[in-house]
């Protein structure tokens, strides 16, 4: 469902993404790992058609990110790293705005709203203004926004960052429930999360892919914990 071919993006003299290629199939949860500044968010932003690659391209659900950005965006749910939202709006008004944009009307809208709100446990803050929410609730509203149209592809940039252990567990369970009929890409620093929910792990540093395997295989290949695998790969191969 996602096919990335030789994506490259530079910001001035900085090469953020340098020839990244990989495919993700339906039913896979791909953990996108890497140190800060590795290029994870840049790849995700290009997949969500927010950034245009300098060269290379990608297909999401058969649509090219450069030629058909609107169709790509219709088919994905994207949660950005800093959970952008209109802070002066109430949660309800914000989610209704997303429904407006995504063309969910009438009965469909009500069902979509009810489902997303129940999934993300945000009933209690429905009438609250987004700027008054805690970090955890804000992120859950962001998740609800990404899930509301039941997209085939989910791109989540650090979805559990800032959540308490209970909330992290809930989000992981939520992702676990959706794996069968979706294709999910998650970036994270939390390696236990990769072990818990990801069927595949791609390690990236300085814009290049350094490893692409399952978490289990990585562990057995290096014969150590995933934390150590991450350190070994990102420090030795980059240096």
């Amino acid at each position: 469902m996602i096919k990335i071919k030789e994506l490259r993006k530079t910001f001035g003299p900085i090469v953020a993404v340098d020839g990244v290629s990989f495919d993700v199939q339906k039913g896979q949860v791909l953990g996108f790992l890497g140190p800060n500044g590795a290029g994870k968010s840049t790849v995700m932003r290009m997949l969500a058609c927010f950034l245009t690659p300098d060269s290379g391209t990608a297909e999401v659900c058969g649509y090219d990110i450069i030629k058909n950005p609107i169709q790509v965006r219709e088919n994905i749910g994207y949660l950005a790293e800093n959970v952008p939202a209109y802070s002066e709006m109430s949660v309800g008004a914000f989610l209704n705005f997303i429904c407006d944009v995504r063309g969910l009307e009438g009965k469909k809208r009500k069902e979509a709203l009810d489902k997303a709100i129940a999934m993300c446990h945000i009933q209690s803050v429905y009438h609250q203004t987004i700027e008054t929410l805690s970090k955890g609730y804000r992120r859950r509203v962001g998740l609800a926004q990404a899930l509301i149209h039941d997209p085939q592809v989910l791109i989540l940039d650090e979805p559990t960052d800032g959540l308490d252990p209970n909330q992290k567990h809930e989000v992981r369970q939520l992702i676990g429930k959706m794996t069968q009929d979706k294709c999910i890409v998650i970036s994270t620093h939390i390696l236990e999360e990769v072990e818990a929910i990801c069927s595949r792990a791609v390690v990236i540093a300085k814009g290049k892919i350094l490893a692409d395997s399952t978490p289990g295989e990585l562990k057995s290949k290096y014969n150590c914990s995933l934390d150590e695998v991450f350190r070994k790969i990102t420090t030795s191969k980059v240096a």
Partner: protein, 243 residues
């Protein structure tokens, strides 16, 4: 079209969920009334709204950029632009949605000056066509200023910078056509160039419309101006949205 309406509705409502709309309306309505009566509304002994419309360019130079400055600068500052442009909305839909939301807001503000219309109608028998032309000219001029404001808002993520730049640009567009400016320019520029500068200015087109002369060249001036600045704003935004 769906993206346009969604952005339009959200943006229009957002004026009223923040104090901006109320501050804008109070200041605009107070000064539009105050300046009219100060300019000798009663002394003129004429039931028309000339004194009212006369002050519009000056008020709009400051007030319209204030309504426009947040349109894109705020989206870029808070990062919500990343949300907007990862939803199925094109840059054109978003730019137009925001522009028209702000324009309709200003039209609402203009509509709230209706007591002025009631006053002149009570005092005499004003020329309704002239009043209509005055409102049309003011609304078109506000659209022009708004398009300039949108452009500068897309250029900078700092609202103060975008406000100051818009005021300067709108000010230049108004004052270039003032008689004093033209007199000064004609001391060292050839007459043809002075004429050219004055036809580029808001003032001449606004004055002739406000006098009740609805000419194609005046209306097309505003339409081209609005389209041009909005297009430029869209291009800048597309270029800089992720910076």
């Amino acid at each position: 079209m769906r993206g346009f309406w969604a952005v339009f509705r959200r943006e229009f409502k957002s004026y009223f969920t923040t104090p901006l709309a109320y501050v804008f309306l109070v200041v605009f309505l107070f000064f539009s009334g105050y300046l009219t009566f100060k300019a000798g509304f009663f002394e003129a002994r004429q039931a028309d709204m000339t004194a009212f419309f006369m002050n519009m360019p000056l008020m709009f130079v400051f007030l319209v950029p204030a309504a426009a400055m947040r349109l894109w600068a705020e989206e870029r500052k808070t990062g919500s632009i990343e949300l907007l442009f990862t939803l199925p909305i094109t840059v054109a839909q978003a730019v137009l949605g925001k522009f028209f939301a702000a324009w309709v807001f200003i039209i609402v503000a203009m509509a709230m000056t209706f007591p002025m219309l009631i006053t002149v109608s009570y005092l005499g028998n004003p020329d309704k066509g002239l009043i209509f032309a005055g409102y049309l000219a003011s609304i078109l001029m506000a659209g022009g200023f708004l398009a300039v404001g949108c452009f500068f808002s897309a250029m900078s993520r700092n609202q103060v910078i975008s406000f100051v730049l818009s005021v300067v640009a709108c000010g230049v567009l108004v004052f270039a056509g003032m008689p004093t400016t033209m007199n000064y320019l004609s001391t060292f520029l050839p007459m043809g160039l002075v004429q050219a500068i004055s036809t580029m200015s808001f003032q001449g087109h606004f004055d002739s419309m406000q006098r009740g002369v609805l000419e194609f060249k005046d209306i097309s001036y505003f339409v081209i101006l609005i389209a041009g600045w909005i297009t430029a704003g869209g291009v800048i935004l597309d270029e800089r949205k992720a910076n």
